[in-house]
Symmetry: C2
Amino acid sequence: MYRSHSCGEVRASHINTEVTLAGWVQKSRDKGFMVWVDLRDRYGITQLIFDEERTPKEMMEKVKSLGREFVIQITGTVIDRESKNDKMVTGDVEVLVSKLEILNASMTPPFTIEDKTDGGEDIRMKYRYLDIRRNPVKNSLIFRHKVAMEVRKYLSDQEFIEVETPYLIKSTPEGARDFVVPSRMNEGQFYALPQSPQTFKQLLMVGGMDKYFQIVKCFRDEDLRADRQPEFTQIDCEMAFVEQEDILNVFEGLTRHLLKEVNNVEVDKFPRMLYDDAMRIYGNDKPDIRFGMEFGELNEVAQHKDFGVFNSAELVVGIAVPGGNAYTRKEIDKLIDWVRRPQVGALGMVYCRVNEDGTFKSSVDKFYDQEDLAKWAEKTDAKAGDLICILSGVTNKVRAQLSALRMELAARLGLRDPKVFAPLWVIDFPLLELDEETGHYHAMHHPFTSPKPGQLEMLDTDPGAVKANAYDLVLNGNEIGGGSIRIHDKKMQATMLRHLGFSDEDARAQFGFLMDAFEYGAPPHGGLAFGLDRLVAILGGQETIRDFIAFPKNNSGRDVMIDAPAFIDDDQLKELSLKLDIKS
Amino acid sequence: MYRSHSCGEVRASHINTEVTLAGWVQKSRDKGFMVWVDLRDRYGITQLIFDEERTPKEMMEKVKSLGREFVIQITGTVIDRESKNDKMVTGDVEVLVSKLEILNASMTPPFTIEDKTDGGEDIRMKYRYLDIRRNPVKNSLIFRHKVAMEVRKYLSDQEFIEVETPYLIKSTPEGARDFVVPSRMNEGQFYALPQSPQTFKQLLMVGGMDKYFQIVKCFRDEDLRADRQPEFTQIDCEMAFVEQEDILNVFEGLTRHLLKEVNNVEVDKFPRMLYDDAMRIYGNDKPDIRFGMEFGELNEVAQHKDFGVFNSAELVVGIAVPGGNAYTRKEIDKLIDWVRRPQVGALGMVYCRVNEDGTFKSSVDKFYDQEDLAKWAEKTDAKAGDLICILSGVTNKVRAQLSALRMELAARLGLRDPKVFAPLWVIDFPLLELDEETGHYHAMHHPFTSPKPGQLEMLDTDPGAVKANAYDLVLNGNEIGGGSIRIHDKKMQATMLRHLGFSDEDARAQFGFLMDAFEYGAPPHGGLAFGLDRLVAILGGQETIRDFIAFPKNNSGRDVMIDAPAFIDDDQLKELSLKLDIKS
């Protein structure tokens, strides 16, 4: 036993009790005749006191030798503290130390172990074990644990069974790139790491497991964007004998449970929005509905005059920025620069001020009179004092651009409060998505998603218009979950794969086991998966996921702490019947 | 909603209620004018009834067309059953069907979906989704879920935090072979899949996480023995500021909790046994103590006569087989054949009957008189009616042989009752183990295990004698968990690695990050890991782990259902800068 109490536990009720504590030296204040040490462990900080009067000389010297992050064990008596600190739960007391042992020394850490550290991202990643000592990271990991436990409790109470599916599976060409694992025992062959347990959870439904879930690592060998990781965690779920409605209800229940238990927030029934509406109203399939600023489509009221830019555009669309009329000309010019950045990609922006007296002043007054502009205000729901921002161009692009502007302005206006939670189901996603580079359609969700009843035939005539039994759960502008009702009929699955460009042979080689399974009594089924990393970050009120991952990788997929990946021995390669074939 | 109730839910209290059920046709009995169908789902079976009087003709034809494992949905009225079946919880009622829909047809399954199936191992693995419909497999998976949930609840209630550690880590030459994962973004470099999260959990302790656990997949590319899997699941745990005693107490508590919650069995405080004693008394570091048959060492009482075999042996050791005197000469000869099989490897076996009248009759009466044999009986604790079996030879080998014999005989005698649970801590394992082929010592547990205090110096003089702060939890003759107090001092870790044959350069390259971490305030720490697959199998009263794994691999590491591993595209190899180098 290294301790009788934790450093977060000592209270006034312990006064005159002897305690043994162990932990790290957070800091010490040396007044010569008196030394105070803040001793820290996972649970909190307790102040230790040493003074010339009551502390043996030898110990006094020892305590003065302690540096930050030394690991010590002390025994002492809890005493009343002279200058109380009501910011600390242990702030009423201190421990007068009678025994001090140094369990381990520490070099000076490369950054301060404080809530606000002086360490940059890179150094913190290299010394992640020190970063984890800091409250923001430590508490994020504890928070993640709490969320995961609540997920398991909730689903388990609803008779869901957590089943572990295999990590060493088979590579499929569909979707993102697989990480592969050479097999030594099967020469020249490879396993793949799962991008998701999709086919296995469907087979569990065929196997009668009925309600499955798993909190599981998934892997994608994609070029990493800022906030992506090659390995990530899903809450993966599947149910048999269900329709979309059943699934939405169960997982709305789970999400509401989490918000209540973890955030102490009660939310109403989640609104539902058609994918087409989300795109039209927010330019985005994962709209942030914590605030309005809905799109107003202006083709009707802006394409009848001589303004060529608008007349030649597929879509003219605007939003009203609350109070935006207060922006100076310079500020608006900056906004125009912002939408013209390559990341957004607009060619320009038309604006229209709505003055307090109800008159309008636009950047295109040459073409539009007050009556025209009043219609713009009506369509964008602009009030006196607002600024209408209008973009135009090809529908898909201009929607994405205006959505980016909407999010940016909302952030500047403080409308994206991380303490406010606005969940939303987006439903009726398209089944297929056109890859503009190749001209081919691929599955928007995945090849196992079922089309809406009666729409299968449209695959031949108007593939882009076919809607799927697919849905996303959106929280504060982030997709936190998504799923679909699956195909459970062999013929329909074969038709779908053919439409996705699989030859019958390829379909058989890749998904034969699944289609075979469909011939032995496959029940109707569907499910969804949550991205746990993102979910905990949002529930935790954070934008980035890294603090919620104990040992994240950097943008090159490297773990800079352990320095992985790394070269391996020639012997290892030989055993795997592999040779390096370095291009550079 | 495909159903109002599950098939396991319908009771007498539902009589006259309309219910909608969905599930699989377990079987149907067609009496011409009447048809009964057993409808099955995960939760149970409900009997459906159709008859000429009350069922429309069209539906009567439809129900007669149903084959086994068809998926159907029915609506009907719960009625009292004429011939009650008290073996079924739903046996008091049946459902008179008014609506029948075939949701999916089924081909005839390749084996019967019954508790006792006619399907062999291979076909069951290929159609694992059908195997999972069978109660023995389905219930094993549900049982596994229950165990995992109880583990999480217990540890979480004790303030342990489940932290996910990475799966894409770095290959280390120590221990078993790693599975490796080529990195596309870091040309020519590889990740490795973890054999255990060992170094990460230690870093979490350095990071102040204090109490960590994780139920986590681990990977070993070993030639597979019958009951091994290339991927397996651990309950991985670590604690800071603890001594061995603390860890034994916590995880004894966990194990006792599982036995209580899952098996409804209360067990006393777990006995503890020194490794040396376990080897001496049971010839095994994971003794099954559900029964006695302890070893009696006979050197003293058997090496003073002219029997050369014994005189030249390092160890002469015997066990008393309860009631074994009843064996015929032929049966004993068979036993001798058994110990001479290559799997056991004894050269022969001496035996001694203990007659009911207290006299002895041995196979070596030429050399030993009654007085000698009485001493054998005393040493092996043999009673009248027993048979003493004696092996001799090199200590390590003869112990292993006699241990195998002891286990075999206990099984034959019914002494290995899967409903009886006899946990045991084996402590004070040796730090190092001699590899007889290479003559080198390697870490018995792993290179991070600390030696007993004051024994570090013996590494130079008598490495094999150094004991470690290492312990195993043994249940019914199986090692279900093992762990150690770790080294937390950089110098000691470096010394240890040097003794294990690492050059300073290799030690730095492989474990530099850990040794660096030890310089920034590493607390004393230790932990252990349970093998979850084995643990649930034993708690579930089974010998083999396969039924407790949803999708196991075969002895060649193949998933025969999905046919993995498999060859991958040349393009994929090229992207990874790899070439196949097939030897055969």
